[in-house]
Each structure stands twice: as C-alpha cells, then as structure tokens.
C-alpha cells in the first residue's frame, strides 16, 4: 500500500475511487473506522466540488507526520473558475439540507486543519489535514 495517492477527477466514478482509496489509506495509517469514514466523506465532498464546478482536477492523499503525531493530508486542486467570495463559501449560513453552496463548512467540521486557496479564473486548491488522536 503506497503512502501517497493521486486520483484524477473527471467524473462521478472518480469521486468514488478517490474516497475509497482515501479510506483504505487512512485505515493503513492507523486511523479508526470512524475517522476513516470522516476522511472518506470529506474527500467525497471535495471531489464532488471539482466535478460540479471545475469539471476536472486532482486529489492527492498522503500520510503525514511531525515530531509528536501522525496523520493524513488531502489536497484537492482544480483549474476551474475559482471561488469569487471565499468568505461566503466558508460561512455556515446554509441549512443542513446542503443543497446550496460547496459544503465547505461541513468539510471543515470533519477535519483538524483546513486551508483554501482560490483565484477567480485560475482555480482552487483545498488542503485538509486530520491527525490521529
């Protein structure tokens, strides 16, 4: 099992691949079943955003470690239209129906660290990290 994965995202099938591979890697890294599901869910949401808004992009997943703990990192990047209003996108104002917006506030709740970089006309990169507790 490689410690690093790269999945090209063009279609809805790739959303499933990315999350299944992400879950498998999380389990290999020693995450609990619950945490692995959280990670897989986050990957699913990020991959879906790529398919819906950017048409194509990439998800990179790998194990990470610092001096005191280890975890997993997921980077979802695309060269799509970018997010015009990042602050709005990250606002938890929408109802739990999740039918509006990018679902990013939800993804934030699933992980420990969340970074968003977006430029209109160039693309978006979301980087998330989850540490093993």
């Amino acid at each position: 099992m490689p410690k690093s994965i790269r999945v090209q995202i063009h279609s809805d099938k790739d959303i499933v691949s990315a999350r299944q591979e992400g879950r498998a890697l999380a389990l290999t890294l020693g995450f609990s079943h619950t945490d692995s599901t959280l990670i897989a869910t986050a990957i699913s949401e990020l991959a879906r955003n790529i398919v819906t808004y950017a048409r194509r992009g990439e998800i990179r997943i790998r194990g990470i470690a610092n001096s005191s703990r280890s975890g997993i990192q997921v980077i979802a990047s695309d060269s799509g239209p970018g997010i015009a209003n990042v602050r709005l996108a990250l606002q938890d104002g929408y109802s739990t129906s999740g039918s509006l917006g990018l679902g990013l506030p939800g993804v934030k709740r699933l992980v420990d660290e969340f970074e968003l970089d977006s430029t209109v006309g160039e693309g978006t990169t979301v980087k998330i990290k989850k540490w093993k507790s």
């Binding site: 809805d12 099938k13 959303i15 499933v16 999350r19 299944q20 879950r23 079943h33 619950t34 692995s36 599901t37 959280l38 897989a40 869910t41 699913s44 949401e45 879906r48 398919v51 938890d92 739990t96 129906s97 999740g98 039918s99 679902g103 506030p105 939800g106 993804v107 709740r109 699933l110």
Partner: protein, 120 residues
C-alpha cells in the same frame, strides 16, 4: 452499476452497494418512481447497509426519492445506515430530515407493515 430492486409483497426493497456513483443514484431515483407506479407499491425500503459514505449528494437524492414516492402515496424507509456513517453525516451537517429511518431491513419492514395496518 444498477441498484437491484426486489418486490416483497406490497413493498419494494432497493439494496445499494458500496461504490454508488452519482449516476447510480440518479438512475435509482428514476427507477424507483417507475417501479412504485408499475407495481403499485405501498412502501419502499432503501437498504444502505453497504454504503461506505453518505455525502451531501447522496443525502439530497435519497430525500428527493422519498419525497417523490410520497407523492405516489407510499412511504420510504432508509435502513442500514452504519454508526460511522451516521456520525460522519451529522458532523458534515446532513441529517436526512423528513425521511423515515430504521435500523435494518427487519425494522423497516415492521414499520411499513405497521403503517399499512394503521392507514384506512
């Protein structure tokens, strides 16, 4: 991959697999409406035991299926949500509000049968 739908008495049971893509869900939605009408079903169970992840799209689509089936006068029960999946769902903020849920197939059928008896 097409979701298998079986008839059990007056009810329909759709059993979802793990690798359920968005397209599969959309197909399921169309298939369920049609089947409910053609088999004049009184209730539907969607068994998601094998589903590894329930994200915003899956949750939205299942809610739509339930709503559409309701318009045909039938109930939908979602069964088999795994503990980890339920946990992830509430963290993500999706709650399947308005949709009936039960622990498993047995409970789902018990609910539909009970409902069937109660409705005049």
């Amino acid at each position: 991959m097409e979701v298998p739908v079986l008839k059990q008495g007056p009810f329909l049971i759709a059993t979802v697999q793990a690798a359920l893509t968005d397209d599969d869900l959309i197909q399921l939605r169309a298939a369920m409406i049609e089947r409910v009408v053609t088999s004049r079903s009184q209730g539907v169970i969607i068994d998601v035991t094998a589903m590894d992840v329930m994200d915003s799209f899956a949750s939205r689509t299942l809610r739509e299926i339930a709503q559409m089936i309701r318009l045909r006068g039938a109930d939908t029960v979602i069964v088999g949500i795994q503990p980890e999946v339920a946990f992830a769902m509430v963290q993500l903020g999706i709650s399947l509000e308005g949709v009936i849920t039960a622990l498993d197939l047995e409970e789902g059928l018990a609910y539909l049968q009970h409902k069937q008896k109660g409705v005049t």
